[in-house]
Symmetry: C2
Subunit: 81 residues, 2 copies
C-alpha cells in the first residue's frame, strides 16, 4: 500500500529512490512487491540499458485508481495517534 502511494506521489521513481522513501521494508521485499504489482498491471517498469543501469517505475492507469482510493485510508492510518 505504501509502495503504491509513494510511487503515485512521484510520478516516476528509480529503485534506490523507492528504497530511500520506504526504509521499513527490505530490498528483497520491495523487489518482490514491485514484481507483483507489475504482474497485476498496477505498475510499469522501464529499463534503460545504460551504465550505470537505470530503471524507472510508474503507476499505470489502474495503479492510479488504486492509489486514489488508497489515499484516504492511508491518511486516516497515519494521522491516528
Amino acid at each position: 500500500m505504501q509502495l503504491i502511494s509513494i510511487i503515485g506521489a512521484h510520478q516516476t521513481m528509480r529503485f534506490a529512490e523507492i528504497e530511500a522513501h520506504l526504509s521499513d521494508a527490505s530490498t528483497s521485499t520491495i523487489s518482490k512487491r514491485l514484481d507483483e504489482f507489475e504482474e497485476a498491471d498496477l505498475v510499469t517498469r522501464t529499463q534503460y540499458d545504460e551504465i550505470p543501469p537505470r530503471v524507472e517505475y510508474a503507476l499505470t492507469k489502474e495503479g492510479n485508481e488504486v492509489q486514489e482510493r488508497l489515499e484516504s485510508l492511508l491518511e486516516w492510518a497515519t494521522t491516528r495517534s
Copy 2:
C-alpha cells in the same frame, strides 16, 4: 477489511451472522480479528447474558470512518475481473 465492511453494512451483527457472511474465514480467525478490532476501538462488543448467549458487534465511530474509506477500495477490488 471484509470484516469491517460487512459489519458496517449491517449496523449490528451476531457472531454466527458474521460467520455466515464470511465463509472464507474460519471461526478462530474471525474471533481473533474481532478481538483486535475491539482492542483498536473500531468495533464494540455487547454481550447479553441470556440463554442462549447473544453477542452483538457494531462499528464504533472510528470503525465507521475506516469502513467509509475502505468501501471504494473494496468496490474496486471486487469489480476487477
